[in-house]
């Protein structure tokens, strides 16, 4: 963190403007995901959200994270979502029953979470300024920091994911029954 050379907020660089615009796109399309009345369009707006997030990573020079975001979230997670929607029912046009009765509660929870996160970030960093370097986002730096500094959380997460995977297989197989 370089505290000496904090540039003024009033003269944003091109990068910062693009970052803000991408953030606006991400938030706007995320809102559309929950407000649209067309099921498949909601999934497509989710794609736009994830794409805008990937764009944010790219602006922050985290190329590896950005393309992994596109590959995993856009390319696999939402496709699986669409796959699931189409397997069950694929309505074209508006579905009136897409609205949840909990919309007020959900909005309150979402707002509270957003406020919490924003205050934590602002409180934690305040006017700290980190200049962007191209090296930080490369696969090599990320790899060595994951497998050296953060290897324990990484392994814990991978065991968690493995457990979830096995759980999913067990749940989906009808020929494996629990002990009575």
């Amino acid at each position: 963190m370089n505290l000496d050379a904090v540039p003024s907020y009033l003269t944003p660089t091109g990068q910062e403007i693009v970052f803000l615009l991408l953030g606006a796109v991400a938030v706007g399309s995320a809102l559309l995901v929950v407000t649209t009345r067309q099921l498949v369009h909601a999934a497509l707006w989710l794609v736009v959200t994830f794409g805008a997030l990937a764009g944010c990573y790219l602006v922050l020079t985290a190329e590896f994270v950005a393309w992994v975001q596109v590959l995993i979230y856009v390319g696999a997670v939402v496709v699986l979502l669409l796959f699931g929607i189409m397997l069950t029912r694929a309505p074209i046009g508006r579905s009136p029953d897409l609205d949840s009765g909990n919309r007020v509660l959900a909005a309150v929870v979402a707002l509270a979470t957003a406020v919490l996160l924003v205050t934590v970030v602002i409180d934690g960093f305040r006017t700290a300024y980190a200049p962007l370097t191209e090296v930080d986002g490369a696969a090599k730096t990320i790899g060595s920091s994951i497998f050296r500094t953060w290897v324990l959380p990484f392994e814990a997460l991978s065991v968690l994911l493995l457990a979830a995977l096995i759980g999913a297989i067990v749940l989906s197989r009808t020929d494996i029954r629990g002990r009575d």
Partner: protein, 459 residues
């Protein structure tokens, strides 16, 4: 190949991002034109080649050797009426061909065509751009292309199109995993994900010091990483929905698959375009990853000037043509696989084998590290081998038992069905209808209502 250890060093990552804008524009336009012409003549090549393989002539009316056939087809598609079925989701129906075509073109931007050349007095690499994670970019673009297929299938609002879209999304996702895994071994050897540097890494093979002997290793990864290459070839066919994995558009069962409702107009042309551009992309990736990219093959590489200037573009193009002809050859030779066979091959064979192969490659790399703790690595290797042996034994015995159980079950079922053919309850056509056994349906008709009998008797 090992004779040219002091091979030419192509551009590295540092050489990119320095082009003036007009050079980038020239390169982008070149790639676009190259791909468009490639599709035009690729379709012709495929039809002509497959015809010769099937002992017929193929297109031979439009132009010399039928060379203008694709041009004629393209013009016809442009002039046809663009139908929009009434109940489709208009936005999605329109967007799907665009979504499928754009990533296909974008993926080609990181393919290295050649080394540094002088273009109008500017030293520039023969490649539009390169990223530290270029191969990841290609995979990401391939996964974006799936949306085109899924949305075309869903937006058409037709059962055939929907089934085609579903099949395709499941297939492409499954094969993408195996494809990415097959490339990991290349990354381990090259130490980078940038395409230009992977080509550089294949300029010269290293040597393997074993017991005082130094054995030169071949430089192209296709030799050293042959299992990876085989897996890549299979996934490459699966990823582009080509025969033998062209289930999304299985004509026999799904009419045209996901593009059934696209009425041979320009939108349909976009789907064809994307299919062929995707074939070129996976071929170019195979060449870059396993066949030394733009570097000259062995007899030509003895000539000093083979890998300098504009010549490498010719070698690259030659390799691309060979790869494309391989696609056609496969199409002419292999029948389409069944859907469950396709999924079983992807998930139960390709992914486990590539995982095991990656572990093996990583172990060998670790063994060759200078100053590494070899006893530790050896001990771990021994433990792994023992564990695999135990696991194999356990699985094998349980599989044998399952197989025996299954055979017994099938025998029992057959015996039951022989005694009582109507048992079993198969949902689809009962195979014991009276007329299969030579029984006339006359008696049943005479028993029914007289009015219906007369109408049926006329029919």
């Amino acid at each position: 190949m090992t004779t040219m250890l002091a091979g030419p060093i192509g551009p590295s990552l540092a050489d990119f991002g320095k082009d003036p804008w007009w050079i980038s524009l020239i390169k982008a336009v070149f790639i676009f034109v190259f791909l468009m012409l490639g599709v035009l003549f690729g379709v012709w090549t495929e039809r002509k080649l497959i015809s010769r393989m099937q002992n017929r002539y193929g297109p031979n009316r439009a132009g010399k050797f039928g060379l203008l056939q694709s041009v004629a087809d393209g013009l016809k598609m442009g002039l046809k009426e663009d139908l929009m079925p009434r109940t489709v989701d208009r936005v999605v129906f329109f967007l799907a061909p665009v979504i499928i075509a754009v990533p296909a073109f974008l993926a080609f931007s990181i393919v290295p065509f050649g080394p540094m050349v002088s273009m109008f007095g500017v030293q520039t690499p023969l490649q539009l751009t390169d990223l530290p994670v270029a191969v990841l970019f290609v995979l990401a673009m391939a996964s974006m292309g799936v949306y085109g297929i899924v949305l075309a299938g869903w937006g058409s609002r037709s059962p055939y199109a929907l089934l085609g879209g579903l099949r395709s999304s499941a297939q492409v996702i499954s094969y993408e995993i195996a494809m990415a895994l097959s490339l990991v071994a290349v990354f381990l050897f090259a130490g980078t994900l940038s395409t230009s540097e992977i080509v550089n890494a294949q300029a010269a093979g290293g040597t393997w010091e074993i017991g005082g002997l130094s054995i030169p290793l071949p430089s192209w990864y296709v030799v050293m990483l042959f299992p990876s290459f085989l897996i890549y070839v299979v996934t490459m066919l699966g990823e582009t929905n080509r025969v033998p994995f062209d289930l999304p558009e299985g004509e026999g069962e799904l009419v045209g698959g996901f593009h059934t409702e696209y009425s041979s107009s320009l939108k349909f042309a976009m789907f064809m375009l994307a299919e062929y551009v995707n074939m070129f992309t996976v071929s170019a990736l195979a060449i870059t990853m396993f066949f030394g990219g733009w570097q000259a093959p062995w007899p030509i590489s003895l000539w000093d000037g083979a890998n300098t200037g504009w010549w490498p573009m010719l070698w690259f193009f030659g390799k691309l043509v060979i790869a494309f002809c391989f696609f056609v050859w496969v199409r002419a030779s292999l029948p389409r696989v069944r859907y469950d066979q396709l999924m079983a091959l992807g998930w139960k064979l390709l992914i486990p084998i590539s995982l095991a192969w990656i572990v093996l490659v990583a172990t060998v790399r670790a063994l060759r590290l200078e100053g590494g703790d070899r006893t530790l690595v050896m001990a771990m290797l021994g433990v792994i081998v023992v564990v695999i042996g135990v696991l194999y034994y356990a699985f094998d015995t349980s599989r044998e038992r399952k197989k025996k159980d299954q055979q017994a079950q099938v025998r029992e079922e057959f015996a039951r069905l022989r005694n009582e053919p109507t048992a079993g309850g198969f949902p689809v056509p009962p195979l014991d209808l009276p007329h299969y056994h030579g029984v006339s349906s006359r008696p049943a008709v005479t028993r029914a209502d007289s009015k219906e009998v007369t109408s049926e008797a006329k029919v």
